[in-house]
């Protein structure tokens, strides 16, 4: 671990103790911003302004002049030999990550190539408006969170939460513009497509997190997920809870079915089958899914449900406390070659509502410190508009919501120095994923990623 402090933020015993669990709701978060002392608020603003975000070693970083350091923790050494670690988030009244053993990583894939420049808008960059005379989001509509950047006007709820933005993420400047190729690189955590690995990145993470006591370490709520390809740990992919009826229902025909399958004690290869059945069926006692049914009517009329439904299922797994540590969700439709403005707005609204609702649920069960939602997308879109939409691009900007170090991280790509009309890569995708693995999941990056990807400080 390059920075063990970050993985052990709960060395502060109070924060780690369930009995005094820090519970920062969205409202508390906002309140914290308004009422926390100059130090905390200043830290947040500084973090927002720190465009490079990973420049904790840079003497010129604006944040380096602040009393609480940059986006990683700072040690304040007292005259005595004791060392106290202070997390700037804690000082600012923000969420700090919970016990590493309880943390859940939720990866949300925006499939089709999300236009990052309509998601995180470089609101002061004239080149943005020059390249997109029709489709740029007007500055007045942008939701600012730092001097230079703001979120899509349709990400209002996320804007009110604790979030980090990682700029300039990509697969290097030699990637293709093929959805499939680039999805593959994302799924495998193989930014340059050169390592030859064939297993999914999340598969390698769950294998590291595998625990004999956890019946289900990884869950894809979007059906089969290539991110989990090749996992040895127990992983389930499904699209709706009906598929778990045979696991969760008490009705006799389900119970008898389970009982009968578990009778298979001595046939060929039965050991493996039985282990699989046992692992799956053991969820029955603790999974509250038997009463769960997704009801779109409890949400405002017209709310997009694709991601909402998936994250609602994710909520059930986290509530069940079955040891699930990694969840993958996926929302499609981001391939906005045409009619971008309307389509992207709708997609953003869906993402915004679903993630906010999910995190609200986490607050209600006191797990808001344990859950981090990280977005991925195979690529961004072309900088310049083409008709009513955008062609496939390369570099992207990604958002992470949860107990992160808020503000800008990575290095924003230039809108004028382009590679074939596309944003250049300043941060390899593998760095983004490796950071989530090591600093959030507590899995050493080297165990799940080839090479030595540079770790970022957004979490």
């Amino acid at each position: 671990m390059s920075d063990p402090q970050i993985n052990e933020p709960t060395s502060n015993a109070d924060a780690a103790s369930p009995s005094v669990k820090l519970s920062v709701t969205r409202r508390r978060f906002l309140l914290g911003l308004l009422t926390s002392g100059a130090v905390g608020a200043g830290a947040f603003l500084a973090l927002s302004q720190n465009k490079s975000g990973i420049s904790s070693d840079s003497a010129t970083s604006p944040a380096s002049t602040l009393p609480v350091g940059t986006s990683s923790q700072q040690r304040i050494t007292s005259p005595s030999t004791t060392v106290k670690e202070i997390d700037p988030r804690e000082q600012a009244g923000l969420l700090v990550p919970g016990d590493p053993k309880n943390r859940v990583l939720v990866v949300v894939t925006l499939q089709g190539g999300n236009d990052c420049l309509s998601t995180v808008i470089p609101r002061n960059d004239g080149a943005y408006y020059d390249a997109r005379p029709k489709l740029a989001i007007p500055e007045a509509d942008v939701l600012p969170y730092s001097d230079d950047f703001g979120l899509s006007p349709h990400l209002e709820r996320i804007h009110g939460r604790q979030f980090a933005v990682v700029h300039g993420v990509g697969h290097g400047n030699d990637g293709t513009q093929s959805h499939f190729d680039m999805e593959k690189r994302c799924e495998r955590g193989d930014a340059a497509g050169a390592t030859g690995t064939r297993t999914g990145f999340l598969a390698r993470v769950v294998d590291q997190l595998d625990d004999a006591n956890s019946p289900l370490v990884g869950v894809s709520v979007a059906g089969h997920s290539p991110w989990f390809n090749g996992a040895n740990a127990s992983v389930l992919g499904f699209q709706n809870f009906n598929e778990l009826n045979i696991v969760t229902s008490d009705a006799a025909r389900f119970a008898d079915y389970r009982g009968a399958l578990l009778q298979n004690q001595g046939g060929p290869m039965t050991t493996q089958m039985l282990t699989s059945w046992k692992k799956t069926f053991s969820l029955s006692s603790s999974l509250p899914g038997k009463e769960y049914k997704f009801d779109p009517k409890v949400h405002p009329e017209g709310t997009p449900t694709q991601l909402l439904q998936q994250l609602s299922m994710a909520t059930e797994f986290i509530k069940a406390d079955n040891g699930t540590r990694v969840i993958h969700a996926r929302i499609g439709g981001f391939d906005t070659h045409t009619n971008h403005a309307n389509r992207h707005a709708q997609l953003m609204k869906g993402v915004d509502y679903a993630i906010d609702h999910f995190l609200t649920q986490m607050e209600e069960i006191g797990r808001e410190q344990d859950v981090c939602v990280a977005m991925t997308s195979e690529f961004g879109r072309r900088v310049a508009e083409n008709g009513s939409g955008f062609d496939h691009g390369a570099g992207s900007t990604l958002c992470v919501v949860g107990p992160v170090h808020p503000g800008d991280h990575g290095e924003p790509a230039s809108l004028t120095d382009l590679a074939n009309g596309n944003l250049r890569t300043n941060v390899l995708y593998s760095s983004y994923l490796a950071t989530l693995a090591e600093k959030w999941c507590g899995v050493e990056a080297g165990a799940v990623m080839e090479g030595e990807p540079e770790l970022l400080d957004f979490v």
Binding site: S234, I246, F254
Partner: protein
């Protein structure tokens, strides 16, 4: 169950790496041993697991049965174009490819073809000569299915060359972007690593040389390249959802309404409906805008000498100007390819992992047969060791689907690509270019999928489920050898308090989830 049950005989098969293989003694001594032998052959040589085929082969010796399977005439049907025809009023006829239909068609063939061995072998090639349906449209997929089915009992060299020229593969592995100036190594590497030689039998320099030799191939539209073209005087449009007019607001321009003229029905057809949701794509002026057009004949692959490499390179120890065909010939002449393809087929048909030495010997023998598939298939299926190795590998998701589908007696039109996908092996959707890992089929995700599939059968979608007798169910499932714990599990159904009908369903579901049914 009143029949005497003999105990299991357990023996670890020496050359298997992953699986503990049990040698079965035979349950039910009064059952016909010829049926058992025929069932084993049908399970391995076909995907359909047809009870009728088992019965028809039961009176033959193993050698005769294998010969009879190999002697069947090829099913020469080709994937139909599957174009949807749409006629928005006052304009022109629209056509649109009906995506995914070709996969359903192939799955139907896998189960109902008159030459089930041909289908089994076509599927075998799809498991390692991989492509993804997202690459280059479904026209190339249809062509590739035709290629596999036409050559699955033919010559490997012919099949490999056709595969390398398939448009879906060319797009899938970026060969269409590969030029002599900027060779893309993707196809070259996978050709050697996955489609022929295997890792360790080539160098990085060979990859580069092959990439140069393969450069210059691309996909094109045969009639009018690179433009919006018509097919038979018609124009094909992409269809999009209708939109209401949007007034100008907050500085955004007003948007015209997109008139809906067609509605998509549940069966995938489009009907005329002014209030429907599908319309032709419109350009910025509100005019209909032609999109990419193609049909079965128009999308082709072709070699462009100007993009290709015309200089001599050293590839696998030989220096010359290489072409796609000569590269394919070179890898087909290589002993490592013979050993590897032979090994893959031994595992696929017999569940046996050959040792390196045995693979070499078997590969060498296959090379002496000029890489013809029929002699190799015959040799494997007639091998005496097959009679000793029951249930030696898991059925893959598609294999499980086909076997269960035919056991429960569903009709051809009920073949569902969505169900196949739910079993983890959507055709032309391999998780990666290496295909589907052999070791995933008994993991929790797969077992949940299969448990769900078996639970999803009921008397409305599977007419034979009223069959109450265990022995009849076992026959339909092709299980003529089954262990006593599986029988005990089936017998335990009697203890259930469910109704008799529910008990019958449960018995079926349990048998479709018996360890024996999950295996080949």
């Amino acid at each position: 169950m009143t029949q005497a049950r003999t105990p299991w005989i357990v023996k670890l098969h020496g050359c298997h790496i992953f699986w503990v293989v049990f040698l079965y003694t035979i349950y039910m001594a009064d059952r016909n041993p010829e049926l058992r032998s025929a069932a084993q052959l049908v399970r391995r040589a076909t995907l359909s697991n047809s009870q009728a085929l088992v019965k028809s082969l039961a009176s033959l010796s193993r050698a005769q049965a294998v010969d009879s399977l190999l002697a069947r005439p090829l099913d020469t049907a080709k994937v139909p174009p599957f174009l949807l025809e749409l006629k928005p009023k006052d304009i022109v006829t629209y056509k649109r490819t009906n995506k995914g239909k070709e996969l359903q068609w192939w799955a139907q063939k896998a189960i109902f073809s008159t030459n089930p061995l041909q289908e089994r072998m076509a599927f075998f090639f799809h498991t390692f000569l991989t492509s993804h349906q997202s690459s280059g449209g479904n026209i190339g997929v249809g062509n590739q299915i035709d290629l596999f089915r036409a050559n699955s009992l033919g010559n490997f060299r012919t099949l490999l060359k056709g595969f390398l020229k398939n448009t879906t593969l060319i797009v899938y592995l970026n060969a269409n972007t590969s030029t002599a100036k900027n060779p893309n190594e993707n196809l070259a590497r996978e050709l050697m690593e996955l489609f022929s030689l295997g890792v360790g039998n080539y160098s990085e320099a060979d990859v580069r040389s092959a990439a140069l030799g393969l450069s210059g191939w691309k996909t094109a539209y045969a009639d009018k390249k690179g433009s919006n073209v018509t097919v038979d005087g018609t124009v094909i449009f992409q269809y999009r959802k209708a939109k209401a007019a949007q007034p100008a607001k907050d500085g955004k321009e007003a948007q015209k309404a997109e008139v809906a003229t067609h509605r998509k029905e549940d069966d995938g057809t489009f009907v005329k409906d002014p209030k429907g949701i599908y319309v032709a794509d419109l350009d910025g002026e509100g005019n209909h805008k032609p999109k990419i057009v193609f049909d079965q004949q128009t999308l082709i692959s072709e070699y462009d000498p100007a993009r290709g490499h015309q200089e001599a390179e050293t590839f696998l120890g030989e220096s010359k100007v290489w072409t796609l065909d000569s590269i394919a010939d070179r890898v087909c002449d290589h002993p490592a390819t013979h050993a590897r393809i032979t090994s893959l087929l031994w595992y696929h048909l017999a569940g046996v992992r050959l040792s390196k030495e045995k693979a070499k010997t078997e590969g060498s023998w296959w090379a002496s047969q000029d890489l013809e598939m029929k002699p190799l298939i015959k040799r494997i299926l007639n091998d005496p060791s097959l009679n000793e190795t029951y249930y030696s590998r898991p059925r893959s998701g598609f294999e499980y689907y086909c076997a269960a589908f035919s056991a429960i007696g569903r009709k051809q039109e009920q073949v569902s690509t969505s169900d196949i996908k739910k079993l983890g092996q959507g055709l032309y959707e391999p998780p990666n270019v290496a295909g589907w890992p052999d070791d995933r089929w008994l993991l929790a995700e797969s077992m949940l999928q299969r448990s769900n599939f078996a639970f999803g059968i009921n008397k409305t979608n599977s007419t034979v489920l009223t069959t109450p007798e265990t022995e009849d169910i076992l026959d339909r499932c092709g299980l003529y050898e089954i262990g006593q714990t599986s029988l005990a599990a089936i017998a335990d159904v009697e203890k259930s308090t469910l109704s008799d009908e529910e008990k019958t369903f449960l018995r079926w579901r349990v048998i479709l989830n018996s360890p024996e049914f999950h295996l080949l």
